[in-house]
């Protein structure tokens, strides 16, 4: 089951302390940048949870 991004906690990439760390840490291309937002590509998510563990805003979770 793909991850869920809490857009409120996430905010804009330019304000992210990790400068979009989740995008950089995901090697599956399941998280991409679109207009300074982090956007999920659910079909690419492999459930590795690296983004959940490493998001500095704790904005990524699972149901």
């Amino acid at each position: 089951m793909p991850v869920i991004i809490d857009t409120e906690k996430c905010g804009k990439i330019k304000n992210c302390p990790g400068e979009g760390l989740c995008i950089k840490i995901c090697e599956q291309g399941a998280l991409i940048e679109e207009d300074d937002d982090v956007v999920l590509v659910p079909e690419n998510c492999d459930d590795c949870d690296l983004c959940i563990q490493n998001c500095p805003n704790q904005a990524i979770s699972k149901e």
Binding site: K24, D47, L50
Partner: protein, 336 residues
């Protein structure tokens, strides 16, 4: 490089050396005042964020020195009146070490190739080949017809015939024939194939084999104990059992088979392991316990909590303080 320094009755200083730190978080686990915060180890190890593995809280740190005493990688340096506590009698001492017995070493260099910290340096001098491959060659150029049989068959490619530009006024097919004695091994094949019996070969090595001195390989092997993390790679790879490694912890590391592993998608454990002990096989991570120091960095980096580290002995001695013993004992057992 983070550091804390205070001057009271004594001058006390704590310095974090990030280049030696592996992000295992042992210091953060045992700090009595919770003054050490472990950073995002995987992004740091992958170079995605530029920050130190740990963060020292200047306001909370009591400068007790426990973190420095217990860091298995020597990444924290604690000094009292400019004296490193490693040199002070009252402080704990690690028994971990790695030694290479130079008497057993044959200078094959396997350990140099596998050391994850590039902590082993080796230099070897091979004996001069010409001292051991000895003989004589002679070509009778009056008999030689430059047919080239010897040149073609020579296994050492030691024979060359220098061709000539043949014309109506010059019918000499070759300028000459030469045997390069630095390549010749005096096997005698040229002599046997020569249709004109023009070649003489004397193999001195063959005649006096037992009288020629043994070839001696000289070398030096140095293990830089400052860089060594006592992972055991050298000990495992050495065909002559020359290195002897005492690790910081004894115990077990294994995978919780109930837990998920995303292998090639994740490989967090592999990226943070300072020992090169992790491999991804068939999309699952595997840890070779023989190469592991039980630091637990992989267990902390794994998003699935799949790695189980169970330490049952810590090779840190002379822990005189009861409260320190208590803190350090929290590293034992199932800490994953």
């Amino acid at each position: 490089m983070a550091s804390i320094e205070r001057n009271g009755d004594q001058k006390r200083s704590l310095e974090h050396k990030n280049e030696k730190c592996v992000g295992c978080g042992i210091c953060a686990d045992i700090c009595p005042t919770e003054s050490i915060r472990l950073g995002p180890v995987l992004p740091i190890a992958r170079g995605l964020v530029k920050m130190d593995y740990i963060n020292l809280n200047n306001d909370k740190c009591a400068l007790c020195g426990l973190c420095a005493a217990a860091c298995p990688f020597d990444a924290l340096e604690f000094k009292i009146d400019d004296k490193n506590i490693k040199e002070l009698e009252a402080y704990p001492k690690w028994e971990h070490e790695a030694k290479i017995d130079e008497g057993s070493c044959i200078y094959c260099g396997h350990c140099v190739k596998v050391c994850p910290k590039d902590a082993i340096f080796m230099q070897k001098t091979m004996p001069e080949r010409s001292e051991f491959v000895i003989g004589e060659t002679e070509i009778n150029e009056d008999k030689c017809i430059y047919c080239g049989m010897c040149e073609d068959i020579c296994p050492a490619e030691a024979i060359t015939i220098e061709p000539n530009d043949v014309s109506s006024s010059n019918q000499e097919i070759a300028k000459g024939i030469n045997i390069d004695e630095s390549k010749c091994v005096y096997c005698g094949l040229c002599r046997r194939i020569c249709p004109e019996d023009a070649i003489k070969i004397i193999c001195t090595t063959c005649m006096y084999r037992d009288e020629i001195k043994e070839p001696e390989i000289k070398g030096d092997i140095i293990l830089d104990e400052e860089e060594c993390i006592n992972c055991g790679w050298c000990q495992e790879i050495c065909p002559k059992d020359a290195p002897v490694v005492t690790k910081p912890f004894e115990g077990q590391i294994y995978m919780d088979e109930e837990a998920d592993c995303k292998g090639d998608s994740c490989h967090a454990c592999k990226d943070v392991c300072p020992c090169n002990a992790v491999s991804i096989v068939d999309n699952l991570s595997e840890i070779n316990p023989d190469l592991c120091v039980l630091c637990g960095a992989c267990a902390k980096a794994c998003p699935q909590d799949r790695v189980v580290v169970k330490r049952d002995k810590i090779n840190l001695n002379n822990i005189r303080s009861k409260s320190w013993q208590k803190r350090i004992s929290t590293l034992m057992g199932d800490s994953a």
